[in-house]
């Protein structure tokens, strides 16, 4: 528990974080800001910093920001919990259950889509 100052702020908009930026990868070029159809993202006032997710409640979850970005891993689309909590699969051989967003996920499937 830190002694950070506490402010009066409204409840977080829902869904909370549809778009997550990795500050170490994102260079704040704002290409995603320029193409987001709903202006969910706003340019950061600090030049070179990742955009601000202003209208989280307006995200269409189309993933176009991720496609537009040319820095792999800078942007992650995160489905709202009321969707992801039921996106689950069962491994045929072992009967193991997995879920999108689970704490200890299995290794990724690295096969790309058909091109």
């Amino acid at each position: 528990m830190t002694n950070n100052k506490v402010y009066m702020v409204p409840n977080p908009p829902t869904p909370n974080n549809p778009i997550e930026f990795d500050d170490k990868v994102c260079n704040g070029c704002n290409m995603c800001v320029e193409i987001c159809r709903n202006d969910v993202l706003m340019p950061n006032p600090v030049h070179g910093k990742s955009p601000i997710v202003l209208y989280a409640d307006e995200c269409w979850y189309c993933g176009c920001c991720v496609q537009e970005c040319n820095r792999e891993g800078a942007i992650k689309l995160v489905h709202p919990l009321n969707q992801s909590v039921v996106i689950s699969w069962k491994r045929n051989q072992t009967g193991e259950n997995f879920r999108l967003g689970m704490h200890n996920p299995p290794p990724p499937n690295t096969r790309p889509p058909s091109v």
Partner: protein, 669 residues
């Protein structure tokens, strides 16, 4: 530091609006052809109009590079009747779809889509979209034509629906717009059409818009315009808590409302579909056997497979049969056309009595899609080709699931767990319908064989036309309407806009900036409008509910909507969308009042007129408004085949279509 709250807490001050604020500033732009909406239809319209050498402007509320209902990709190309492998003629497809729609369909749009959707796809290929299995990944598959390398869906014998690699279709269209010299105005929301002398019912000579980043007012002066905005999606349900995301938030019917106010004629506005609204699941992202996942094997919790059946109730013994017509069936239309399924056109499906068999315990929930039971080609076609290229699947489904470890070779993807009744149809991710939660049906503008509306200078394409639906139809009608609009612009002079009309609109759009912040905001008003639509214009309607609904919408417009506030240019856009929703909702209710019968095809139930599709109501009801007076007319089903038109589809197409060098004219060689 990527979230607004982080910023506030670290800086203890609000970040300033990042764009210059230019409320009340006015910019005037002139063009030959003005395209309202930069989605699939609008982009194809712009490109084909520009090919004719005229000046073209596209106005888009979002960002043309990726926006629109088809902006996030496409996997199926429907009604490709003129592709070299097709066994279905444009006439057969058109007539089948119109029959399946009970006649409540737009003949010119349907036929043009059948004629030109293949040409539109070739346009896309020239722009760089991959439409063939050129690297041979699917070599030897049942659905691949070895000569053309085209891949087909649903009905492998008749080859009328293609599988395509369209994840990047919008960036390619965008590049072509830029290359060909089309001027693009992004982030501009259209708020009104300008008409000759400022009077409704006259020639359309421009439009006004508002920049939703800067608040600037833009006046477009044009010789002609094409409405190519999408299907409204926030009219019956709206929630940002439980996220429904099938329709883009931007789609509220801007084109519909501005055309209505200008005196344009609409049809099929009383139609709506059942919907699960915010209770739906991730599109294409859960186990199902529909559309993009057509042909998937579904198993229950114990691994017992749910059988597939053909239209005659015959259980199919092999996976290959899922992609074959039933004995005596000419062809399967496939899914995604927004056409009712019937005996003639239907695809094969999971057990129609699946809900009963779940209730009896024969199948145990949860169900799963087990793609490992399919051949490697079929499995990869579903999860890899279709899921990977369809709108909103490449990142939201393919990328999200594979990064989290999902492997279709090894894993069963769970279907949503719902009441048994919800498994009646195999599109499981659509969730369980709630009767009062509707979604937009086939309502839209009435057009002739030129895709022109009743207003001079105003054309329509894609989802703006009544009866429209699929991506390929938007592309085909866009390129056809674009040619006509260009021709109109070449043969008609520009007219002076009416300054009073412009100033009146300008005063209206800025009203929400002058309101107190303790009035009502756009989200609350939107939800209130939805409640009126659900209760008074839901699954069951009657004269009493509709008249009350119209009164309540009017009261909202005069009170809450008049006090609507906006803090930023963005909110101003959303606030004005609420005005649009009020208008669109009123049109739906007035059209519903006019149809004094129920209809199976229109998904339309009047409690006070329960008779279903009686012969005297088998006609299209059209509706328009001039100076506040609503006019109802009747349009015969075959209006497009009666004088002055020919009774023969092809003759009309040859008479009215305008061809150019690149376009071989609906593949008429």
């Amino acid at each position: 530091m990527a979230h607004w709250l982080d910023f506030i807490e670290q800086n203890a001050s609000l970040p300033e609006w990042p764009y210059p604020v230019r409320y009340n500033q006015e910019t005037h732009v002139k063009t030959d052809v003005l395209i309202l909406g930069g989605g699939i239809a609008g982009c194809h319209a712009a490109i084909s109009a520009r090919r004719k050498g005229v000046k073209v402007i596209v106005v888009e509320k979002g960002a043309t590079k990726w926006s629109g209902s088809g902006g996030a990709g496409v996997d199926h190309w429907l009604a490709a009747c003129t592709n070299p492998c097709s066994q279905v003629t444009p006439e057969e497809y058109t007539e089948q779809v119109i029959r399946s729609s009970g006649g409540y369909d737009c003949g010119p749009l349907r036929y043009i889509a059948c004629r030109e959707s293949w040409d539109a796809l070739l346009d896309c290929e020239r722009m760089g979209m991959k439409i063939r299995d050129s690297n041979g990944e699917f070599k030897g598959a049942d659905f691949r034509d070895e000569k053309t390398e085209l891949l087909f869906a649903y009905d492998y014998k008749n080859k009328v629906t293609l599988r395509v690699y369209g994840y990047n279709v919008k960036p390619l269209l965008y590049r072509e717009l830029k290359r060909s010299g089309v001027e693009i105005f992004d982030r501009i929301m259209i708020t009104s059409l300008l008409t000759q002398g400022g009077k409704p019912g006259t020639r359309v000579i421009g439009a006004t818009g508002i920049n939703i980043r800067t608040g600037e007012f833009v006046v477009f002066e044009a010789k002609t315009a094409i409405v190519s905005t999408g299907l409204p999606g926030r009219l019956w349900t709206f929630s940002t808590e439980l996220r429904p995301s099938f329709r883009d938030l931007n789609n509220v019917g801007d084109g519909c409302a501005v055309a209505w106010n200008a005196g344009a004629e609409f049809a099929k506005m009383e139609q709506s579909y059942n919907d699960s609204g915010p209770l739906s699941y991730l599109e294409y992202g859960m186990g199902n056997a529909h559309n993009t996942w057509y042909g998937a094997s579904i198993v229950d919790a114990n691994g017992k497979e749910v059988p597939w059946y053909n239209r005659d109730g015959k259980e199919l013994n092999s996976i290959a049969e899922r992609f074959q017509t039933a004995p005596g069936q000419k062809f399967m239309v496939g899914l995604g056309e927004r056409v009712p399924s019937d005996y003639e056109n239907q695809v094969n499906a999971l057990a129609p009595d699946l809900p009963e068999r779940i209730k009896k315990g024969e199948f145990v929930l949860p169900l799963y899609a087990d793609l490992s039971r399919l051949s490697p080609h079929e499995r990869r076609a579903i999860f890899g080709l279709m899921v990977g290229n369809e709108g909103k699947t490449r990142i939201p489904v393919y990328d999200a699931l594979t990064k989290a470890g999902f492997d279709p070779d090894k894993d069963l993807l769970q279907a949503p767990v719902m009441p048994p009744e919800a498994y009646q149809q195999s599109n499981f991710w659509a969730g369980m319908d709630v009767p009062h939660w509707r979604i937009w049906g086939g309502g839209g503008l009435v057009v002739d064989w030129n895709l022109k509306t009743n207003l001079d200078g105003l054309y329509a394409a894609g989802g703006s036309i009544f009866g429209a639906g699929a991506h390929s139809g938007a592309a085909a009608s866009g390129r056809y309407a674009g040619r006509h609009a260009a021709e109109f612009a070449k043969t008609n002079s520009e007219l002076e806009i009416d300054k009073i009309q412009v100033q009146r609109e300008k005063a209206r759009v800025y009203t929400p900036l002058q309101q107190h912040k303790h009035n009502i905001g756009w989200k609350e008003l939107n939800a209130g409008i939805c409640r009126i639509m659900q209760d008074y214009c839901g699954q069951y309607r009657s004269e009493g509910t509709l008249k009350t609904g119209i009164r309540l919408l009017k009261e909202l417009r005069e009170s809450e909507a008049a006090m609507l506030y906006a803090s930023t240019p963005h909110e101003l856009g959303r606030a004005l969308e609420c005005h649009t929703l009020l208008t669109v909702g009123e049109i739906v209710m007035r059209a519903s009042l006019a149809r004094k019968a129920s209809s199976l095809y229109l998904n339309f139930s009047r409690l006070d007129y329960p008779s279903v599709d009686p012969i005297e109501w088998q006609k299209i009801i059209s509706i328009k408004q001039i100076n506040g007076n609503v006019e109802i007319s009747e349009v015969p089903f075959n209006y497009h085949l009666r004088p002055p038109y020919s009774p023969v589809y092809l003759e009309n197409y040859q008479e009215y279509s305008i061809f150019d060098d690149l376009d071989k004219g609906g593949s008429i060689k």
